[in-house]
């Protein structure tokens, strides 16, 4: 099929036999819930579509439906995600395996409808697992895998599938849409864990005092960490059934003997692949690390990959203000005991197009760092005017 990233996600939610879709439209996500509404209307998907009065209500409904024992999917973006903020935090601690697509769009003032990761990055401490995808095929596959990971008894956590607004959401590409029978083999029917059941009364979401909250938070911390194992297993199983493998938490490209590399996420990864190929042709030992999951963050896996790397540049499509971007600070923390020089590279803010020249500029800076030259800790690429 030749479909957009949004439609690829909608197909995945349909193939997952989603049972409830609470929704509120917001560009560039609307195509997802519109497509799902159509599937339901045409009898292709047996689900309840609930139009809500806000995203806050969307997530509240999602929580109720998931606790009620059904598979829930929804989608949002930007201000919509921000409006959900309060309810987002209730989901991981309640261990409800809701899957949501967030079509990345810049948040706040000085913003538009175009891609920036400052919406989902702001939610990285909510306890949701977060995967960032590179193309429409991965958008579909990651959404399918998200249900399996989320519902695994060792995980029981919500998953946010993040895809670039417009660059994926509104771009059509060739996408292999799996058959329903194949997906049914991969994703068994939903079996709720803590179901609301009048015959088995439970105390849900009581006020939690200082004598319990810390243990509960640590339990959640461990659950997010243990999901690493399940993510890798699901990736493996998916590849056996569907022939496509994504590498779990992170993927690497031409890293075998690399001396310098970029770490990217989202669609910038595809661009970086091209630049790495060019550099390799020039005889330069360039590589690429594709970060897939921001949560759980691959602290250990990164150290292993960067073991013999001289310099690593970290791409960010959002800023953390006076500290580079959020991915940069996390990677720098992960590699604090590894001799690799780590630099930050901010680009594509507010949906500004990232060109081959921008990406080449990032690689050039990292190569200089790998030769021991002094390089700025954080560089904004494509910025008009010299950096301070």
């Amino acid at each position: 099929m030749v479909i957009s990233g949004d439609h690829a996600v909608a197909h995945a939610a349909k193939l997952a036999r989603t049972e409830v879709v609470p929704s509120f439209p917001i560009t560039p996500q609307t195509l997802i819930v519109e497509q799902l509404a159509e599937f339901i209307n045409d009898g292709e998907l047996d689900a309840d579509f609930i139009p809500a009065d806000s995203e806050h209500s969307v997530m509240s409904m999602a929580i109720g439906a998931s606790a009620g024992g059904v598979r829930v999917f929804t989608a949002t973006a930007s201000q919509g995600l921000a409006l959900m903020h309060e309810m987002l935090y209730a989901v991981p601690q309640n261990r409800l395996p809701i899957v949501m697509a967030n079509v990345n769009r810049s948040l706040g003032a000085a913003s538009g409808i175009w891609v920036e990761y400052n919406d989902s990055m702001a939610e990285r401490d909510s306890g949701w697992l977060q995967v960032y995808v590179e193309d429409n095929q991965e958008a579909l596959d990651a959404t399918l895998m998200a249900f399996r990971m989320a519902e695994d008894r060792r995980v029981l956590l919500p998953v946010m599938v993040c895809l670039d607004g417009f660059i994926l959401s509104h771009t059509v590409e060739r996408v292999e849409v799996p058959e329903q029978q194949e997906v049914d083999l991969f994703l068994p029917p939903f079996v709720p864990f803590n179901m609301l059941d009048p015959y088995e009364p439970k105390l849900i979401n009581p006020i939690v005092g200082p004598e319990y909250a810390m243990e509960m938070r640590y339990q959640l911390d461990r659950a997010v960490d243990h999901s690493r194992e399940v993510i890798n297993e699901v990736d493996e199983e998916f590849s056996k059934l569907f022939g496509r493998r994504y590498g779990g938490l992170l993927d690497t490209y031409r890293m075998e003997d690399a001396e310098f590399a970029m770490l990217t996420l989202g669609t910038a990864t595809g661009l970086a692949r091209e630049v790495v190929d060019d550099l390799r042709e020039e005889g330069k030992r360039a590589g690429l690390i594709k970060l897939r999951f921001m949560r759980p963050f691959p602290f250990k896996e990164l150290c292993e990959v960067c073991d013999s790397l001289k310099a690593l540049g970290v791409f960010d499509r959002s800023a953390s203000f006076n500290g580079g971007g959020p991915v940069y600070t996390e990677v720098a923390a992960a590699l604090c005991n590894v001799p690799t020089v780590v630099t930050g590279h901010v680009a594509g803010i507010g949906g500004r197009d990232i060109t081959t020249e921008h990406m080449r500029g990032m690689y050039d800076a990292v190569e200089r760092a790998s030769r021991g030259e002094e390089v700025r800790s954080v560089t904004w690429h494509g910025l008009r005017g010299d950096m301070e």
Binding site: L156, F193, K202, N205, R222
Partner: protein, 299 residues
Amino acid sequence: MFEVRFHGRGGQGAVMAAQTLAEAAVIEGRHAQAFPYFGAERRGAPVMAFARIADRKISIKSQVYEPDLLVVLDESLLDIEPVARGLKPGGKAVINTRKLPTEIDLGMEVECATVPATSIAMEYLKAPIVNTAILGAVAMVCDLFSMGSMQQAIENRFGGKFGEAAARANAAAAAAAYSQTLRGRCKGNRPFVPRRVWLPDWRDIPIGNTLGEGVKDGVTVGPGGAKQNLTGSWRVQTPRYDKEKCVRCLRCWFSCPEGCIKREEDEYVRWDLNYCKGCGICAQVCPVKAIDMMKGGSR
């Protein structure tokens, strides 16, 4: 460093008492702090408040575990929790009670002062808010501040909030308590029985912020777990029911926030006084005045 722990019930003014004590110390030229700790913000629920006094700036912000002075604003708390836990061997206690110090059993024999703060508060303030009265007794046993500083602190804190008349009435209650305070030593026979609490390891906490019915470490948890919290001990007034007047409209049954009014088969009602907090809503909603509230928490 001189550390104080107040035990009271929501509505008695333990927090205000701690703050006022801190202010009295500051009036004396010292450094001081005061802060509360409470769970549910409800009248009648047990609360604690803390104060620290020192001659230099106080940096520590932790709770007080080994107080030099223990202040108990509600005598009934002695029977439901070991209020004297951690009290320093040379420490002092001030208790709101009509009893003599020698009749009080704190589980450790210490210098103890008693004062009938509730009746003093009723006389001067027309309400059982005992915080200012008990501060008079605190000033009597504690040499870190004079009664003059304590009264000044009361006037500062209460005058601004409730007006001059209230400030004067509260200062007068403190003065009356100062003169009615009895000093002696209390008994130390009561065994320290820590409250049973379920404190599981992080691995043993049920997953998903969800708790089913059950008993953990001897404590009933989950739905129905509140049964063991006998909120009837919070009561300072008790409903009296005149069955003759009752028209069986069941408004009281419907309105009771604790659900402690029970329907009988004949549609008359009865109260489960183990849980009745004495809020008086039933008496208010009764259209035929078949219910009135009597002073006191006894049955």
